[in-house]
Amino acid sequence: MKKNFILILSFVLLALGACSSDDEVAQPNAVAFASTSLNLSAETTPIEIKFASPTAAAGSLTLTYTETAVANGTDYSTTPAIAASKVIVPFEKNVSTVSFTFKKLKEAIEGEVKNVVFTISSVTINAVISENKSIQVNFNETASLGTALAPEVGGPFQQNQVYVDLSSGKMTSVLRTSWDLGFYSGADFKVVINTSVKMSAKQTTSTNIDEVQVEDETMLINQGSGIVAQVDDPSGDITKTAIATISSTDSENKVYVVNLGSNPGTAEPTVGAEGSATGTSRGWKKIRILRSGNDYKIQYADLAATTHQEVVITKNAAYNFTFFSLLDKKTVSVEPQKAQWDLNFTTFTNTTQGQTGLSPYHYADFVLSNLKGGALAYQVLTSEFAYDTFTLANVASAKFTADQRNIGPNWRGTSVAGPSGFPVSQFVLRTDRFYVVKDPAGNVYKLKFTGGANAEGKRGYPTFQYAILK
């Protein structure tokens, strides 16, 4: 009997297993400049250095520097001051950033290449010096060497279009619903519709703007519905717009019925979904566009109206388009000057192959390149090249094709398989790819997206990093 109980006891002991535990190793901190270049505008400029996590102890950083056509004391000074060819920047315990001040003593003449490059050479606490160990401080406007940006498209409703200029790091945000038509400034007389709000335009046979028109449900853009010919060609080819080229012969310029699309939603969508086009209808208009010398003349009215309004819209060669709001009845400022933006974060009416053929399809999280201004982009898979080691020599110029969608929606996925087999909305960043962007000035950048949703999973919070290729 005793033997039996010993056996049972040994079984019980076998059954009770101890749990393994992982030993945590203290991670060293990391330190780096907040960006890799900086153009001086004010007289004094703080230069920010970041720690990856709050500092474990107080200490100091040692920076070395290299001057290009400038001298300490004559052209600039720093606080703390340079001593023995070094800047010693002290920091407190438990801080995440520290900065020193750069003071410009003498303005540079435009066109001169004058800069100081600071490099972190050592740090007194246990921290590694990361990739951005140097910053180039430019006395003149110089193309950015790269930084990280977060275009504010506005969360899940994505109510903003954000135009990004990589070389200056400048972002311009406008409401997507602030405009309806764009009048091309180039040699051709072309008019585009707002592709961010599911707009569509249908040519009628009439040339009389005062003739009553009716709403046409087939013009609505929903899944599988809408007509490809009634939206602008998504590639951005200005010769393939929904509205025909404005003829110098007035009688050839027909009246169009315009569906103004949808407003952004108002009810917060479920986490992971977007509500960029779930709002109310923006209504309907009829328009007729004529030439007015080298400018445009637009006649517009509500569909049932028997009178109309008329406005002359002038071309402005500094911009791709002159924008007009049919609802606000005025020209509005939307895009920056055509050489001053490269990418546009927006929603977009693309086309997709559906079960009933090619049809318009509304996308959120779209990124357009400024094709008309001369910006081009293409995608690189990390299976071909790693982002970190990608250089100018790796750029394949032939891949810069004339399509504004070369980034498009390709940088993200929007769903994962759900429990019932249907997909469930969730933002999925594609980390197996990055992009090469050439700006209108010819600077070539590599650009990788680092996010598109916030920590809660809500859509409409894109972030990306870029670095100039040399």
Partner: protein, 719 residues
């Protein structure tokens, strides 16, 4: 005292579970199996009008089966599907999924996350206290109500024991494929049981079981893998299971009562392969993942009493309360620090059921005519969290679904013996449903015993499957989507016919041969599927009663026994015809019968001198084909023939007992053919049109490769 207990033990052993004196078992029948499923009274399998298949305790032992999925892989006409996203393993019989197959414990349906008896995760059914498993194929709507379409599986648990004390403890260690480590890999099972007879009237059983399945990595790299290449996580999700059960029974004269309590706890871990970067410029991005764990708790109470009323009527009544709750705990896992954050636990799916069934029989006290009256009451309260399906409102807000389903059924079965040889068994059920139209089911069984041990049976059965929550309540309508459930769905209806022959004979040499041949035909009408019901102006997907299913099955088993040697061989040919209608796309699939072959075989050899039993189980699954809807390269809807490649399943084991059967060692291997994923091949490319964006998967998780087990059991029986 000792004599009394021995008597009691003999009584229990000879009567199995709901023991019933009426069927006086004569000496020659003592060896034959007694079955209860679908019977008026427990009776010998030979007398059963239904063709009842039995998986014995010996089979369970020899397969070292811890749960139902370990044993059903060897069963003809059944295959098991495992999900890599929620870790559930469910049954598929005749190509119909687990919603059509009902699992019962001691004759009452077992609750699952989403059903009552249906859609049971097989790994959640522990086999520790199981006496045997009975399976009846075909529609059993009369005796077992809704959703008993493709068949029923009834687990008969042990009641009491043959000794005053029966104590046993088991440790089982298994590899998962070729993966094994003391904690992080493999499968680790511990269990203990105690059965005690207080006196001739009272008995108690208590048991506990822990099954720690550390997951199957295959090519994946586990939870701490920090690269965004889809390799994080597990091919089969890690799962810890804890089972506790207790039973208290009493019997005196013609009165028996037992109460059974069962607790089941499970923790399934899902580690997402998608690493989400956090911008940390100018430092390298950090990564976290959206992980989740599913926590299941099931509480099962069953009170049963049976015996005689007015010293004539046999009654059997069960009351049960069951609740299964599956919680989901979502959390983010920071790869660099291994910290969990933003933990959020909520109920994912739950089902709470009050259930009662009862029967009354032996009205005429006539061995020729027996008549049974029965009732079944089910009151189910189901809950689906919005994230468990696609449930939204018009404002795109997630909506939880909570619904109560009630049904009040009455049924009646008569068993008329026209002669010693010929029995006829008509049955009828009427079900009053709170949610659907009232349903009825009917059945007719015939049994004829020919000379020379040949038995013939014929049966007709009807049943129905009630629509599930997804089918009823899915709703997702926005500018780009229109996917809708349909509250007006009607239950799918099924009819099955079976003709079977059995023959057993003993040869002069002492060898025994038994054959069984069965032909089955089944159809299911008004099958529910999601189809495109409108194309213009917007595409509308909706669940509708639209499709048809027909199935032919011919199966045969042969058994040969000689001394310690037993060989079984079985073969089945299944032909399935599905008519899929794509509604608005004006396309209907070819409804020709697509045939597949299954073979199974088992050989065991017992060497009494060595106390050793060798056994090999083998099953061959032929190619299974079906038509699936897809889109061809021109974007047009089309049906494609999809086939699951053939595969074989083989388990083998050696069991040896030591010290007068006190110590038992089983060593074996599962899945000797090393099956992991089996490819499902479509004859042309294209996307599935099953849903708005759904993409078809091409690899089916069937196993985790050849694995080995060692099971040690210590039994201590004394009076």
């Amino acid at each position: 005292m000792r004599i009394n207990i021995t008597l009691f033990a003999v009584l229990l052993l000879s009567n199995y579970s709901f023991s019933q004196q009426k069927d006086t078992i004569n000496s020659s029948e003592k060896l034959s199996e007694v079955v209860v499923t679908g019977q008026l009274e427990p009776q010998s399998i030979k007398k059963s009008v239904f063709n009842v298949r039995v998986i014995s305790k010996e089979d369970i032992k020899q397969l070292a089966a811890n749960n139902l999925s370990d044993v059903l892989n060897q069963y003809l006409n059944i295959s098991i599907r495992t999900s890599g996203s929620d870790g559930r393993s469910t049954v598929s019989m005749f190509g119909l999924d687990a919603q059509y197959f009902k699992i019962l414990i001691d004759n009452i349906p077992l609750v699952s996350d989403t059903g009552m008896g249906t859609n049971v995760d097989l790994t959640q059914v522990n086999l520790d206290d199981v006496e045997r498993i009975e399976i009846i194929e075909g529609s059993m709507g009369v005796t077992h109500g809704a959703n008993a379409v493709s068949g029923i599986l009834n687990i008969i648990t042990k009641k009491g024991g043959g000794y005053r004390w029966q104590i046993s403890a088991t440790v089982q260690e298994e590899t998962v494929g070729n993966e094994y480590a003391l904690f992080d890999k493999g499968r680790h099972i511990q269990s203990a049981k105690i059965a005690h007879n207080f006196n001739e009237h009272w008995f108690v059983n208590i048991g506990g079981n822990r099954n720690d399945f550390a997951g199957f990595y295959d090519n994946k790299k586990g939870k701490d893998y920090g690269f965004n290449d889809g390799l994080r996580g597990y091919e089969w999700l890690p799962k810890d299971q804890l089972v506790g059960n207790a039973m208290l029974g009493y019997q005196k004269d013609n009165f028996r009562i037992f109460y059974k309590f069962d607790y089941y706890g499970e923790n399934v871990h899902f580690y997402s392969p998608i690493l989400i970067p956090q911008d940390n410029y100018p430092f390298p991005e950090t990564y976290f993942t959206n992980d989740k764990r599913f926590l299941t708790n099931r509480f099962y109470h069953h009170l049963n009493s049976n015996g005689k009323l007015f010293s004539r009527l046999n009654y059997n009544i069960s009351l049960s309360h069951q609740k299964q709750e599956r919680d989901v705990e979502k959390f983010n896992y920071q790869i660099e620090t291994k910290d969990e954050f933003a933990n959020d636990r909520q109920t994912y799916q739950s089902k709470e059921v009050f259930y009662s069934t009862g029967t009354l029989s032996n009205f005429f006290n006539n061995p020729k005519v027996d008549f049974q009256l029965g009732y079944e009451i089910t009151n189910e309260n189901g809950f689906y969290d919005a994230s468990a399906g696609t449930f939204k409102d018009d404002q795109q807000q997630a909506v939880d679904i909570r619904k109560r389903l009630e049904n009040y059924d009455v049924f009646s079965v008569a068993e008329i013996s026209l002669s010693d040889k010929f029995s006829i068994r008509p049955g009828l059920r009427y079900s009053i449903q709170s949610k659907f139209d009232n349903q009825y089911a009917s059945s007719l069984g015939l049994r004829y015993l020919f000379k020379k041990g040949l038995e013939a049976r014929a049966s007709l059965g009807k049943s129905y499957r009630t629509p599930n929550f997804d089918e009823l309540y899915t709703y997702f309508v926005d500018s780009n989507h229109n996917i809708q459930g349909n509250p007006d769905l009607v239950p799918e209806s099924s009819t099955s016919y079976e003709l079977s022959f059995k023959r057993a004979c003993a040869l002069g040499s002492g060898a025994q041969i038994a054959n069984n041949l069965a032909v089955t035909y089944m159809d299911v009408d008004d099958r529910i599927d999601m189809v495109l019901t409108q194309v213009v102006p917007t595409q509308v997907y909706e669940y509708v009663n639209i499709n048809k299913y027909k199935m032919w099955n011919i199966s045969t088993t042969e058994q040969y026994t000689y001394k310690g040697f037993t060989a079984k061989i079985g073969a089945a040919v299944v032909g399935i015809s599905r008519k899929l209608d794509l509604a608005a796309l004006n396309l209907t699939s070819d409804d020709k019968f697509l045939y597949s072959l299954q073979l199974n075989s088992s050989v065991s050899y017992n060497i009494p001198k060595w106390n050793t039993l060798f056994a090999v189980y083998y099953k061959y699954n032929g190619e299974q084909q079906r038509f699936v809807a897809g889109t061809d390269t021109d974007g047009n809807a089309k049906f494609f023939l999809e086939g699951i490649r053939p595969y074989s399943w083989m388990d083998a084991s050696v069991r040896k007992t030591f010290f007068k059967n006190q110590f038992e060692v089983t060593v074996g291997a599962r899945n000797l053919f090393d099956i992991t994923n089996v490819q499902s091949v479509r004859n042309a490319g294209g996307d599935s049109t099953g849903g708005a964006h759904a993409a078809g998967s091409t690899d089916l998780l069937l196993g985790y490769g050849r694995s080995y087990f060692l099971k040690l059991t210590y039994n201590l029986n004394f009076n």
